[in-house]
């Protein structure tokens, strides 16, 4: 499982360019499902027939895409200008390594040296417009041989196991969800399962709305990597989630209010099976549930998340037990659905 997580998090899949992640997932799950297809927007949808009678349609949803960059122009000196794709704090960018395009051309995010900055510039946080990607060439012509406008770039960040059962990686949001769905597909269920690996969540929940319209589920469970702010300098009441306290169940965020019966069912499942869980305290942000629950005539929807510190950065951190418990909770929830 750790190996697959490594493969998934290191793959390139910025919103709109999810192919590499999708290929990995498709290979993993093809033997596990009855039908698999890619829809018009790029979502990977896998159907696993239920064994029971009077089955419901349960949609499990995780997004394949991650935040990253897109190359927007090449300067005469061969430096690349870029725009972020999805929400990235510009302050985490300087001096980070990136890979550009299919061939994973290495680059470094740079900015002019501090002694060249005006005093006023030093006081303010760096803006994306001031930065560039240096791919080690010295002319526009050389750069154009390696990179095209519109190429995507990802953080260059290997997954690392460290400390007390912790994982550092990029794109834990939402490859942890992808991994959960893959693991969930290994079990047999009474109900019809639709595992939806969606595109373009980070730029506006776009894939999930399309997938839900197509699947028309009775119940939807969104599996996410969510913010975790249990760190020094933060008042306890501002902790969104706490690392190591188990999967986080969302009551409300900026995009949806979870179905109350499903929240109770998740809690009851956790209690009955001895799986720890926590209630997410933060109510901002959004995820695929925002589009799924208002699809067509409305869908009963809930969200289960793995707490991830430093989310949307090259070094997100999670606890392996939180992921394992998330997988268990989702599996048991689907098994126990009535």
């Amino acid at each position: 499982m750790v190996e697959l997580l490594k493969k998934l998090t290191e793959a390139s899949g910025v919103s709109g360019n999810e192919d590499e992640v999708r290929d990995i997932i498709r290979e993993e799950i093809t033997p596990l499902v009855d039908k698999i297809y890619i829809d018009g927007i790029g979502n990977l949808i896998a159907y696993k027939k239920g064994k029971g009678e009077d089955v419901k349609k349960i949609m499990l949803c995780a997004h394949m895409d991650e935040v990253g960059f897109i190359i927007t122009s090449i300067s005469d000196n061969g430096m690349l200008k870029f725009k972020p794709v999805g929400g990235i704090d510009p302050r985490v960018l300087i001096s980070k390594r990136v890979y550009i395009g299919k061939d994973k051309i290495p680059g470094v995010l740079g900015i002019k040296a501090i002694h060249l900055q005006e005093p006023s510039e030093r006081k303010n946080a760096v803006k994306v417009e001031q930065m560039y990607i240096d791919i080690g060439v010295s002319s526009k012509e050389e750069a154009e041989k390696l990179v095209n406008l519109g190429d995507y770039a990802i953080f260059a960040s290997d997954m690392v196991e460290f400390g007390d059962n912790k994982i550092k990686a990029k794109a834990l949001d939402d490859r942890v969800g992808c991994l959960t769905l893959i693991e969930a597909l290994k079990e047999e269920y009474d109900h019809d399962l639709y595992a939806c690996f969606t595109v373009q969540e980070e730029v506006g929940l776009r894939g999930a709305g399309v997938a839900a319209y197509h699947v028309e589920p009775d119940i939807a469970v969104v599996v996410e990597g969510t913010t975790c702010s249990d760190v020094s300098g933060v008042d306890e009441h501002m902790y969104s989630t706490i690392m190591g306290s188990g999967p986080a169940i969302t009551i409300m965020d900026g995009s949806s209010i979870s179905n109350k019966a499903l929240i109770e069912k998740l809690k009851a499942t956790g209690d009955a099976k001895g799986i720890p869980y926590q209630i997410k305290k933060g109510t901002t942000g959004g995820n695929d549930a925002g589009k799924i629950h208002i699809s067509r005539e409305g869908v009963a929807t809930c969200v289960v998340s793995v707490p991830c510190r430093y989310i949307h950065s090259p070094s997100s951190v999670m606890d392996m037990d939180d992921l394992k418990n998330t997988i268990e909770l989702v599996k048991e929830f689907v098994k126990g659905c009535e």
């Binding site: 009441h237 629950h293 005539e297 409305g298």
Partner: protein, 332 residues
Amino acid sequence: MRELLAKLTGTYGPSGNEEEISKVIEDEIRDYVDEIKTDVMGNLIAFKKGNGQGKRVMLSAHMDQIGLMVTHIDDNGFLRFSNVGGISVLNTINSKVIFKNGTIGNVSYESEIDNIKDIKLNRMYIDIGAKSSEEASNKVSIGDVAVYYSPLSDSNGRYIGGAMDDRAGCALLIQTIKELEDCKNDVYFVFSVQEEVGLRGAKTSAYSINPDVGIAVDVTSTGDTPKARTMAVKLGAGPAIKVKDGSVICHPKVKGLMIDRAEELGIPYQLEVLEWGGTDAGAIHLTREGVPSGAVSVPCRYIHSANEMVDGADLENGVKLLVAILEQEIEL
């Protein structure tokens, strides 16, 4: 109308927790409609059959109200909260709030803050009088939602209370259901959920009803208070026929039809251009292939505070206007 409004505004129902208000409304209208159901999202949808020659009309008034969701209980029993819908700092400081189970508290802020501009919702708390975390936890849990506690008061023919947005609209729909007798059109009365967090209930109910015409019934702001932001809507000058707001430009024929009916019957009305905000019509008119939509608004002062004010005559005239719109043929 006063008793109905008092009952509706006194019932608990923040976005996502509309069960109680839904039950109260259902009890009011059950005997007057042909069908009634609650959908997956919690929308209460009542159907009143017409004579078979008219249009499918959807009316929507939202049941939900804004609220304060508990996110953390501290060691001393104080509750930290987040907003459900448009809760503002200024309107909330020292407001009384009430939970579903009747627990009442006062909202205050970290008193080390000197400048009022520095007060944010995450530096405020609800004090329910608990002496410890345990005592507080016996009364409320994380995720519980409080609403402004503000029983209805009368003042010069006007009503002051919490949740006029949009229980005033619900009252109009209920009264319209009761007074509507000879109706050409098939009318779906939707008491929608989760309007305050993004017009969510109206979106799914409009999809399932698939109406020919949509009409939202909600409150709107006024420009008639001292040095108010300019707006040509006054309290007491009649129901407002919406021209536009931040969520919808009303269909000219729907708007025109409303004006015609008001003129014919001599019902006072005013035209509403709201430069911000939105209402269920914003979701309805974009449903499926598009739905010609409009809105009738109840002028309301101090929206999203504990003390919203509406005018009794505006409510009566609002019902007259809705009945007139629904009873006659609707041509688009």
